[in-house]
């Protein structure tokens, strides 16, 4: 039914072909969509949206399908609109450090394109070699280096958006301070509920003069957490500080080429970047702090190859879990940084009580935890019980005044917890934004919001 728009080769309706699109990176839940289209242009996307609306089909946008919260999980009878054929870099403006790309362009390919000229695109989710910029916009993706450089919302200045009525609108602008309400700030991170992004304008940065990467091991996460607090307290703004606990180190060593020691309780991986002289001063200061906090061993990467290897270890952490467990459930809670040690102890206690191993690998600089609850899906009701443990971890984060998601998004997975983090009026404000964009709620229904509500309904006293 969409063949005339995208061509028969790019319209998938056969069960075997649809299977690929039954889930995203959250593989535990699968729903077969009615059809998948892979349009190549903004116009094709708009025509697909119009036809889907005429047929009453819900529309689920999809990038590379690497999301971990089920944001691209289909709903019954849905049309999935994939952006995997929209992979062109449309325009690069070095003078103003702006680049216009199609949404299917892979995150890392932006930086690869810019590298010969000495520039890069800052947000670097661990999946950056496969995730798409359109997906990054939907999720407001972060990455290890957002501690210093911010998230997708700080680096995407404009998008082209196809709305539910199939109209095409430019949001934001390549020039500073676009007039009117800052719609880009709310479209970025809207998880596909407001429209389909068909072009993205990113701002890119000059590479820093120097980057130093330091790896340090500690007897336990307590000392590592203390080191993070003291480094930040010393006025240093590292580009990234990542923490891994013993279980995470074990998995990473098994799965990658890193030669990290196995007899430690925690490790930190830190980047300091910027002007050469300052990088040396602050990295040296950070090393001194790390040593004073009781580091077992400190490694100061001597070459770019050594740096890259350290980061490959960190970025491959989730995938590495396969070496120590058949399945894992990844959580994405955020806590105030100064509570890291306390929260890790609570998670350890929860792990002991529940009998589930929990590996921790996370962005320590901004308190964004990624506890990985390890389980075996073949063993009885382990999957459900592991999910329960993961949900308890989120409740711990909320108890400390944190968030249920730092970068993976709410999606289908965490919609139920939105009502635990936000009150009725808070959600009503978000619902008002949604209704302003899409009163029909055709885009990605069932995601983000805990309870379906029509756009005519108003919460609270009016």
């Amino acid at each position: 039914m969409f063949e005339d728009i995208v061509g028969p080769a790019h319209c998938i309706t056969d069960p075997a072909g649809l299977r690929v699109y039954e889930c995203d990176g959250l593989t535990g839940t699968r729903i077969r969509p009615a059809a998948v289209v892979l349009p190549a242009t903004t116009d094709e996307v708009a025509r697909c949206v119009r036809r889907a609306r005429e047929c009453g089909m819900p529309i689920v946008p999809r990038g590379s399908g690497t999301g971990l919260s089920g944001g691209a999980l289909p709903v019954e009878g849905a049309l999935v609109v994939g952006t995997s054929r929209m992979r062109s870099i449309l325009e690069v403006d070095f003078e103003n450090q702006r680049m216009r790309v199609q949404p299917g362009v892979i995150n890392l390919d932006i930086s690869k394109h810019l590298a010969p000229f000495g520039y890069y695109y800052a947000p670097d989710p661990s999946s950056q070699s496969v995730c798409s910029i359109g997906g990054n916009v939907a999720e407001n993706s972060g990455g290890a280096h957002c501690l210093k450089y911010g998230f997708t919302v700080n680096h995407v200045v404009a998008v082209t958006l196809v709305l539910a009525d199939a109209s095409v609108v430019e949001i934001g602008g390549a020039v500073a301070d676009p007039l009117g309400y800052d719609l880009a700030s709310v479209v970025i991170g809207s998880e596909g509920l407001l429209g389909i992004v068909t072009e993205v304008v990113v701002r890119f940065l000059r590479k820093p003069q120097k980057t130093r990467t330091v790896f340090a091991t500690f007897p336990s996460t307590d000392e590592a957490g203390e080191a993070v607090s003291r480094i930040i307290g010393a006025g240093i703004v590292p580009a990234a500080i990542e923490m891994m606990d013993a279980l995470a180190i074990e998995a990473i060593v098994a799965a990658t080429r890193v030669d990290w020691p196995l007899d430690v309780g925690a490790a930190l991986l830190m980047d300091v970047d910027g002007v050469g002289a300052e990088v040396d001063e602050t990295a040296d200061a950070a090393i001194e702090i790390v040593e004073r906090c009781g580091a077992v061993e400190v490694r100061d990467a001597r070459s770019e190859a050594e740096r890259q290897l350290m980061w490959q270890g960190r970025k491959g952490a989730f995938a590495a879990m396969g070496r120590i467990s058949p399945n894992y459930y990844v959580q994405d809670g955020v806590i105030p940084r100064s509570d890291i040690a306390r929260v890790l102890r609570e998670i350890a206690e929860l792990s002991r009580r529940s009998g589930f191993r929990v590996a921790n690998v996370f962005h320590a600089g901004d308190g964004n935890l990624h506890p990985l609850v390890l389980y075996d899906a073949r063993a009885g009701d382990e999957a459900a019980r592991a999910e329960h443990v993961a949900s308890e971890i989120l409740r711990i984060c909320l108890r400390y005044g944190g968030s249920i998601t730092g970068e993976h998004g709410v999606g289908a997975d965490k919609a139920a917890y939105m009502a635990e983090m936000f009150g009725e009026h808070d959600l009503a404000a978000m619902q008002d934004v949604r209704c302003a964009f899409d009163a029909t709620q055709s885009f990605n229904p069932g995601k983000v919001f805990p309870v379906p509500r029509l756009c005519g309904d108003r919460a609270g006293a009016r």
Binding site: N96, A174, I335, V433, V448
Partner: protein, 378 residues
């Protein structure tokens, strides 16, 4: 004038006034300022809501009520060697809420961006009398739509900003400022590009227009070793004499002096043409004119006293047409009534205007919040 002391009181007032169809202007002081000046029935001042709600230095997070002056907040943070890295003009008189509502910023924008880059949470009070929170008190958070960022730059046309939570930065251990005088606009652009090429990371870059051309002022901050190295590198790349000093007075004059003030945006690469086609003619149409440029961001401010309103209006219209063709905008930040009547304060509504109107309809269905005060008559 209404001066609620709490969110609950503000909520009752907003619900009561809006149910009587009274139009409302929200202000940190006595009256709304900036381009959104339209007559309103009632003024709601946030000045009594001026507490620090929560400050956790170790987390580098502060929550503050809207009525606190930015300057007072900065003094408080400085005691713990921290700052909010936004430096709007007249910080002692600008409230946090006003800064957020107007998306105000200063030269630190060069390195730290704007309010949207540092805001992590907000409490808003809506016309229906509900109080809604958005975001949170952690730096990283993607749960739900980002209501706090959406409220930045809305001039009190969607809701009352009750409190704001910001990410903070350490106060720099060392800081130095360097100036280069008598540059033409091409020269300003050249030095700014040369800094990028040399991978320097200035925290602030501003050029002010003086008698003999532009004075470019650059601030380097951080640790002493980096500041020294950058000053040295800057002297080498400037290809002309570099002196210590700053341009704060001239910058502040260009931002706030006189009865008329324009904010102009254009692609940063167009600076030389922007000077010829926009800045120079506008200065020529003003008495006692001042101009400054944020050359890395592509923003210019021109101010002065409006003498002949007709010629200033035609200069503004021509300047606006020029920047709009290049994707930019010209906003009358301050204008005497006659000028405001002759030239739309905001200019042509942006492409996504229908969505903005829909948003206004959802947040302020009775159109009581500063009706007609924003872009396109929102």
């Amino acid at each position: 004038m209404h001066e609620p002391a709490s969110f609950e009181e503000a909520a009752r007032l907003l619900r009561e006034l809006s149910s009587r169809r009274r139009t409302i202007g929200i202000s940190g002081g006595d009256a709304p300022r900036g381009p959104s000046v339209v007559p309103v029935d009632e003024i709601l001042s946030t000045r009594r809501m001026d507490r620090i709600v929560e400050y956790v230095p170790s987390d580098q997070i502060v929550s503050v009520e809207a009525g606190m002056p930015v300057g007072a907040l900065q003094s408080h943070l400085a005691e713990r060697a921290q700052r909010l890295a936004i430096d709007p003009p007249e910080a002692h008189a600008t409230t946090v809420g006003g800064m957020v509502a107007a998306n105000a910023y200063g030269p630190l924008r060069t390195q730290y961006g704007t309010v949207k880059d540092l805001i992590v949470g907000m409490t808003i009070v809506r016309v229906d009398g509900t109080i809604a929170r958005g975001g949170g008190k952690v730096v990283k958070n993607v749960a739900g739509f980002d209501i706090p960022k959406l409220m930045v730059g809305t001039y009190g046309t969607l809701a009352l900003i009750g409190s704001v939570t910001f990410r903070l930065h350490p106060l720099p251990r060392a800081s130095a400022q360097r100036c280069v005088d008598a540059l033409d606009a091409q020269g300003v652009r050249r030095v700014v590009r040369a800094m990028t090429d040399a991978q320097l990371e200035p925290s602030a870059v501003v050029a002010v227009l003086a008698e003999g051309g532009y004075t470019l002022a650059v601030r380097f901050e951080g640790f002493a070793s980096g500041v020294d190295a950058q000053c040295e590198a800057f002297a080498a790349l400037a290809h002309t004499s570099v002196r210590e000093g700053n341009v704060e007075a001239a910058h502040d004059a260009a931002r706030s002096h006189g009865t008329a003030g324009f904010k102009i945006t254009a692609p940063a690469s167009h600076l030389p043409d922007l000077h010829e086609h926009v800045i120079r003619p506008l200065c020529g149409a003003l008495l006692d004119s001042h101009a400054c440029v944020y050359p890395a961001a592509g923003i210019a401010f021109v101010s002065g006293d409006a003498a002949d309103v007709a010629s200033l209006a035609s200069a503004a219209a021509a300047a606006r047409a020029w920047v709009q063709r290049r994707g930019g905008s010209l906003v009358l930040e301050r204008a005497p009534r006659a000028l405001g009547d002759a030239v739309d304060r905001w200019g042509a509504p942006p492409p996504a205007f229908a969505l903005m109107r829909a948003l206004k309809d959802r947040f302020d269905p009775g159109r009581v919040l500063l009706p007609g005060g924003f872009v396109g008559g929102l």
